[in-house]
Symmetry: C2
Subunit: 331 residues, 2 copies
Amino acid sequence: MSSAPAPRFDVLGIGNAIVDVLAPVEEAFITKHDMRKGSMTLIDAARAEAIYAAMPPAQETSGGSAANTCAAAAGLGARAAYFGRVADDQLGAVFRHDIAAGGVQFATPPLVGGAPTARSMILVTPDGERTMNTYLGACVAFTVAQVDEAIVADSAVTYLEGYLYDDAAAQAAFVHAAATAHKAGRKVALSLSDSFCVDRHRSAFRDLVRHHVDILFANDAEITALYECNDFADAVAHARAEVALVAITRGADGSLALRGAETVEIPAEPTRVVDTTGAGDVYAAGFLAALTAGRGLAACAKLGGIAAAEIIGHYGARLQRDLRGELAALG
Amino acid sequence: MSSAPAPRFDVLGIGNAIVDVLAPVEEAFITKHDMRKGSMTLIDAARAEAIYAAMPPAQETSGGSAANTCAAAAGLGARAAYFGRVADDQLGAVFRHDIAAGGVQFATPPLVGGAPTARSMILVTPDGERTMNTYLGACVAFTVAQVDEAIVADSAVTYLEGYLYDDAAAQAAFVHAAATAHKAGRKVALSLSDSFCVDRHRSAFRDLVRHHVDILFANDAEITALYECNDFADAVAHARAEVALVAITRGADGSLALRGAETVEIPAEPTRVVDTTGAGDVYAAGFLAALTAGRGLAACAKLGGIAAAEIIGHYGARLQRDLRGELAALG
């Protein structure tokens, strides 16, 4: 992807290291507990306790947006590394086990004696939509000190999740990682994560995208929020003018990839919608796994769609099927 | 079910309170790590670390044999309570949340400052068979002191899991609970749990069955192990002579229920086998939910089979579908 020496990693993810606590609920649960359906809301420890007490029996799996991307990228055959902060507690051990067992290098030391490992209570309604309530815990202890520059310099793409912008120290770490990547001749990718997150940090995101980002991932709500456009086509035009490569997911309408004058539209893979948790994360994984393997835009968007369809068909945001052969199968 | 006053609970389960750590593996994983496929093996902390380090990314759900039975019984509309010991750690909180959120009364205080909450690493092979490696942790601190006699006396059936026989203190608690139940005019049920567990404690189990048990749950391997019979029919005859009510599960061949001279055979419900974890536990739940509702043997075996089919169709040992209407639907 550049004239720098061949990198050791294809994708390095930086994000909030979170354990998902996932349960099916009826629509009424979302309304009763005053949640914003389909979005991610940050909650404090007291609210986390209250929601957990009210929610049905759950299953725990490792999550975190960029971590999901890294795990899926490794599951698709890419070489992946991850930075994120867990605590030295049982849920932290679960997170560490799962990402490492999936083949992702994860060496960020745990936080000792501070807040517990982050968890996100994810309520899945019968339509497959997920509503996330995240207690960040140890994640807020992620700072510039946790950015291992040697690994950034040795990764083809450093992938940053927009959710990090909810914390000032993580924001600084983020900009530092981007600068380090570019100095080493590498690329920087950003996922906008959530339209409400974009609303909270619009001007910072606009600066970041303009000055530091080579590859932008967003869905239609996020891209229109970023450019404050009512019209999707206007937002796309803005993004195309500012970023070298843009990939936009559109749910059941598939995805759109733009690079300079080039535009590729790929329909969604057929699937039964069980739980959309992680769909955007693993789309980015498929896209980047193909891109760093030297594939064209259509193959990137196609592999993203295949990975997203797998994740949507079951509970949880980590791949359950072996998709290692999918990239080669694209021809 | 007796002349005692109407009980507050239909089913009280007593067992090892365990969090399941569940992952799919190939057959080769079982062989390489020297495991006995299809059985439950007790492991120490060091072996638990080694297996966890080697196993793929996993999902965590609450488990424990009698706990699965109680959770499923509640999910089928029965009133359930549970005794078992977790630690005051994150996995203990997960276990407590899940069983309580499922509608089971669970008031056993956690172990403080001792071993961590038990976990069972469950490896599921492509044939749906599960191989369990259990680190008992805080479970071994379950003693007579954790047997709340008032709740035992107020439960129609006290249901004991055979796995408890791997610990001497739990064995004593078990006999005490059985005596308390009978003194109050209630029934005592036992699950044989695992044929190797039966082999380890055969004479103790034989005494227990003869002197303390009204309702016996077993599969074909366990019942032949208990009576050291090569012939299934011989083992069944032994059991019928010793226990008032016997229910035997036979995998794809359905189940068999015996009460005095009465015999009922019920075929298995059609289902796709994904993961057999908890199949016997939830069969017992369906059986007891129907029995304590005053239903006949055929309805008991049928509801057991319906619940088992639900659990076998997905990963994990807790019901995912709402089966509250199934008992009434049996007519």
